[in-house]
Structures are given as C-alpha cells and as structure tokens.
C-alpha cells in the first residue's frame, strides 16, 4: 500500500544569476517519516529547504505540501514551519510568548487556550517551569526545545529543520540527536532535516536524500546508502571509506560484482554502476568491514602495519600493501573482541574483505575540498 505523501518536490530548479544552486531535484517525503537532506556546504540543500518554507521562489518546478501546490502561497500561509539554524528565537519575548507567537497570528483562539496549547507542547519537549524566562537566560539545549515547541504548537504538516543541532557542542548534540528522533516518533509529525553531518542523518532518518552541486545523488534508507551507494559521490561522502583511484576492471562476475586490479592486486567488488571490462575505476573499501589476520595467509592481501592509532572501542590500523606494484595503503578498523589479534607496527598481516565491503565506480578526478571534513 503506497504511503501518503506529505511533501512532494517536482523538477525543482533554482538559479541565482548564472549559478544553478538547485538542479532539477525531485523527491517525495512520506507522511510521518523522518526525512533528511544530506550534502556538503553550498550543495543547495538549504536552498531546497528555503524554497519549501517559502523564502525563495523556485526558478522552475513545483512544490506540493499535503497535496496542494505551494508555489504561489507566501511563507506565512504555508502549512510548514521551520526551525532555523541559529533558531531565530525572539529575544524580545519570553518563552511562552515565543511559543504562542504563531497561535496569536492565527486569531480566534482565547488567550488561556493558547497558553494551554503552548504548555502542552512545552511538556512534550520536556521544558517545564521556564515560561517566563527570557531567551538569553536559557541554555543551548533549552533554546533548541523552545524552537521546536514554537513550531510544533502550530501542528504543521511538515516540520523543516535547518541543522539546528550544529550550534551545540558534541555531547549535547549526541543527546539532542536521540531525543529529536524520539520526539518525532512520538508526535508523528513529518520531519525534514537538513544537514551536512552524515552521522546525524544516518542515525535519525528513515530516508536520506543526498545532494551535491545542486543535484540529487541518491534517495534511500540509511542502510541502503551505506551498503549500496548509487554514485561515486555517495560512496565517498557517506560513511568512512578507503578510496583507491585508477584501478581497472578485469572481469565481470555477474551484474553486480566484478574483479578489479590495482597494481597487480586482484580483489572483488560490488559494481556500484554499470561497468565494463577495462574500465578505469575508483574503489571504496569500508575500513570496518575488513578482516585482519596476523601473518601471511594463503588467500587475501598481504601488508605490513605502518601505524596503529588506538582509540578505545576502535583502533585504526594503517597497513602498507607489500605485494602491489603501486604504493597502496589501507585503513583498517579493529573491533575489540576476544578474537581480535594483538598486532604491532611492522607486523606482517593478511587482509580480506567480501564483495559488500568494496564498491567500484568509474574514476572521477578529485575536486579539492569536495568532501567536508
């Protein structure tokens, strides 16, 4: 049964002068889902959001919210609300006046009803007894909650969030991340979350749209994005990866699997897109999906440990591959279980991975600063 669609974007394009900020983007956001738009800075994700909110007019294409075309509806009449990146709480008002602001604009609601509605939402975001506080007297986390309550009290069809967590410090960000997800599940409101931080997107979303240079790269579940990236960019941007450039396809095993050659080293990989024998490819290998065994084994790729970065739960081991004709290094993440071998720098080890750990795409010349740190 197809799910109801809350937000639908069709062939959306936005040009600023000669710059195409958003290029023919289409996607649907199912009702009640947590939908993220993930992309590096200046990828056009914020422009998409601002067009949905009504602060930018599309150059072409249509926006539907709740089935109604929104292109000619001004921002203040759209059934969506935005949580701003820097929250944009009104400093001249206290908490309760901020939260009732939108209700007051609607009219026809008695003052006591407004306060009751606001109180109800404030309870849901776990913010009690601070109604009379000024915004400047609140902590960063409390301000986040007020901003959420201010929008949620209007019961929007979709809540738009423009990286509101990015202003918080790491610890608080982790807490709020989980809380936001729970809140969304509890309220059942459709959330559209804009972020450049893939860990946030992967952790919270039902669906993620990856956008780069104004173009949609892939729309999929976090799991799908992680396991089966559809494009070179998604493979390089989502999750951690070893990237080897300029390999060659030597054999096609089946539609999705191929054998690739890097300086004489042969390895199996998933073909992320349609590949042919002889194609020049880049290979992405997930460091956490590599099996590391001490010593030289019969099968697998042999290397020598160059450095070990110990980090509690994970240790990152950098290995120089000794049998390749071109210099190749690979990062391996070690999970600390009872089977994890103890290794030291200069040890000889054997590495192996399955087809699912490696994704091959046609070679793309690297662009400086394309991937955000």
């Amino acid at each position: 049964m197809p799910r109801e669609i809350d937000v639908s974007v069709v062939n959306l394009t936005k040009q600023f002068g000669s710059l195409t900020a958003v290029n023919n983007v289409s996607f649907d956001v199912p009702k009640g889902s947590f939908f993220s738009i993930l992309g590096p800075s200046a990828s056009g994700k914020t422009t998409v959001l601002r067009m949905i909110a009504g602060f930018e007019a599309p150059s072409s294409g249509d926006i539907f919210i709740g089935g109604k075309r929104m292109n000619d509806v001004p921002a203040n009449k759209r059934p969506c609300n935005l949580v701003f990146q820097r929250l944009a709480l009104f400093p001249m008002m206290n908490v309760i006046d901020n939260v009732t602001f939108g209700l007051r604009r609607r009219g026809g609601i008695s003052k006591s009803d407004m306060v009751k509605m606001a109180q109800d939402v404030l309870d849901r975001v776990d913010l009690k007894g601070l109604n009379q506080r000024k915004i400047s007297q609140l902590s960063g986390g409390q301000q986040q909650r007020v901003a959420l309550a201010r929008s949620l009290v209007l019961d929007p069809t979709v809540l738009l969030l423009d990286e509101p967590l990015s202003a918080l410090d790491l610890k608080l960000r982790q807490d709020m991340k989980l809380e936001l997800k729970r809140l969304q599940a509890r309220m059942g409101t459709t959330f559209m979350y804009i972020t450049h931080d893939q860990t946030i997107a992967l952790a919270m979303s039902d669906t993620i749209a990856v956008i780069n240079f104004g173009k949609l790269e892939q729309v999929a579940s976090p799991d799908e994005l992680y396991r089966r990236p559809a494009t070179h960019f998604v493979a390089s941007f989502v999750g951690e990866n070893n990237q080897w450039n300029n390999g060659r396809v030597v054999k096609l095993v089946d539609d999705n699997t191929c054998q690739v050659d890097f300086g004489g080293l042969l390895s199996v990989a998933r073909a992320g897109e349609k590949l042919a024998v002889g194609d020049n490819i880049d290979l992405f290998i997930r460091p956490e999906m590599i099996l590391l065994q001490p010593g030289r084994k019969d099968s697998g790729i042999v290397g020598k440990i160059k450095e070990i970065n110990f980090d509690g739960a994970h240790s990152l081991v950098v290995v120089d591959l000794v049998d390749s004709k071109v210099p190749l290094t690979i990062n391996v993440k070690l999970q600390h279980t009872e089977q994890t071998p103890e290794v030291a720098v200069n040890d000889i080890v054997t590495l192996s991975w399955g087809q699912a750990a490696a994704n091959a795409f046609h070679h793309v010349a690297p662009i400086a600063d394309k991937k955000e740190a």
């Binding site: 009504g54 930018e56 007019a57 000619d72 509806v73």
Partner: protein, 290 residues
C-alpha cells in the same frame, strides 16, 4: 526578503525605491539647487537661468563682489581654518587620552565619568555657549583685577575662547570614536612588544597608537568639520574679526538678505566638506579590512 519574492514584489519594490528617491531629493535637492545657482548670471539667487558665470567667485566690480574679492569673507575662511586646526589638535590629544582612561584604567566612579563625558554633546549648544561665556567672563575679570588690566583678555570673546568652547563638545566626539577603536585592540600585542624588549611607552607608541591611526584620522576629520560648521556655541564666544568664522559671518549677512555670493561660499564649503567626508568614508571602509 519579505515573504516569497512573488508578483507582489515588483509593486512593493517600486514603492520602496520611490520612497528612497524622495528622501534623497529632500536631503540633497536644496543643496543641489543652491550649488547650481552659484553659477547663474543673475543678481538674484533664483531662477530663471541666465547663463553661466563665475562672477560670484571672482568678480570685483562694485555691483558684483565675488567671494575671492571680499576681504571680510576671505578673512572668515582663514579664521575658520585656524580655529578648526586648533580645535582638532587639542580634541585629538584629549580623545586619545580619554580613550586610554576609559578602556585601560579601572577606578571607582568610571561609569559616572563616562556618562559625564557625554554631557557636552547632550546639552544644547546655546546653553553650552552661554555657560562658558559667563564662566570665562568671571575668570577674565578676576585675572584683570589681580594681574592688572589685560591679563584676562585671552578669555574674553575671541579666538581662544571660541577654540575652548568648541573643544568642550568636539572632544566628546573624538573620545567616542577613538575609544571604540581602542576597545577592539588586543592588549596582548602590546604585551608581546614589551616581552620582546620594548618599554611600555615605546610599545604604546609603536603598536597601540599605530593601531589607532585610522580612528585618529577619522576623528580628526569629524572634529575639523564639527568645528568648521559650528554656529550655536561659537556665536556666543566670538568677538572681533579674529574669531569671526564662516558660519558667524554668513548668519549676520543672511539676516539682511540673500546674495548669490553666499551661494558661492556654499559651493566652496560643499566641495571642501565633500572631499573631507568622502576621504573619511573611504578611510573607514579600508580600515574595516585591516
């Protein structure tokens, strides 16, 4: 930026632009007309246009005396410059001094003294002028009595009294400008200079004052213009010709009527102020990138 930039936009933008054009017309229009009429070959400062002339600048015929051939007017120009230079120098020294006082020093009653510093800018110029006049009058009389007639003359209405009177409020302005800049100064730069072996005085000279230069130049331009254009306070404190500045002579002439020569004086002042103002503006702009 308001609502979606939809069809309404063009209508409201049309309104915004015409409003601003009207405001510009209001602020600049009268001055532009005055400017143009300085070059009209007519005995009255009005239209119709009767041809271009420089008579009101350079003529010396009995019925048309140009600005450059009007000795009293030229004298007033010279006096204004002298007064403005003196006021600027004193006010800048005081401004730098006060900036160090309010930014660097900690003492009881600092807030009060800061509020007090704003006083001369708030009090009406007429009141400021009269209070300084009556005070200096008393001191001058006392000096004459004690040291003999003439000892207090420099405190009688005249050049120095005008300078002192203007310094009273111009120094507030220079203090505000220079204080704002000094607040932005990272004191550790000065400490670094001392750490590298210079004395505190040397460090202030080499590092801090160097940093203050844009503010000092900006404040000097403002001070010069403030002095140059002041009427209210000066009116009470000026005496004979050595303290008759341009605004004072213009006021006395305007009470008798309008002559295109005054348009010529206006042109001169507009050009001077314009150049100084734009120079100051550019300087401030460049300063932002430092």
């Amino acid at each position: 930026m308001f609502t979606t930039k939809n069809k309404l936009k063009s209508v409201s933008y049309w309104f915004y632009y015409s409003y601003i054009v009207l405001i510009l017309l209001f602020t600049a229009g009268p001055l532009i007309v005055t400017f143009i009429l300085a070059f009209n070959n007519s005995d009255s400062a009005s239209f119709p246009w009767q041809g271009f002339t420089l008579d009101w600048f350079s003529s010396s015929t009995p019925d048309r005396v140009g600005l450059f051939n009007d000795p009293r007017m030229m004298m007033a120009v010279a006096t204004s410059i002298k007064v403005a230079v003196a006021v600027t120098v004193i006010s800048i020294v005081l401004g730098v001094n006060n900036a160090f006082l309010f930014v660097r020093e900690k003492f009881v009653g600092k807030e009060f003294l800061y509020m007090l510093m704003l006083g001369p800018l708030v009090v009406p110029g007429v009141v400021l002028g009269t209070s300084i006049l009556s005070f200096s009058h008393g001191i001058a009389n006392a000096l004459d009595n004690i040291l003999g007639a003439g000892a207090g003359t420099f405190l009688r209405p005249g050049f120095w009294l005008v300078v002192f009177g203007q310094v009273s409020f111009v120094a507030t302005t220079t203090t505000l400008v220079i204080t704002a800049r000094l607040r932005k100064f990272d004191e550790s730069l000065e400490e670094a200079a001392m750490d590298l072996g210079s004395t505190r005085t040397k460090a202030i000279m080499l590092i801090t004052l160097r940093f203050l230069v844009p503010a000092i130049v900006g404040a000097a331009i403002v001070a010069f213009l403030f002095s140059f254009e002041n009427f209210n306070t000066t009116y009470f404190l000026s005496g004979t010709t050595d303290s008759t500045t341009i605004p004072i002579i213009l006021y006395s002439r305007l009470r008798f009527g309008i002559s295109p020569e005054i348009n010529a004086v206006s042109v001169l002042l507009m050009i001077t102020t314009g150049i100084l103002g734009i120079f100051g503006f550019m300087f401030q702009k460049n300063d932002e990138t430092i």
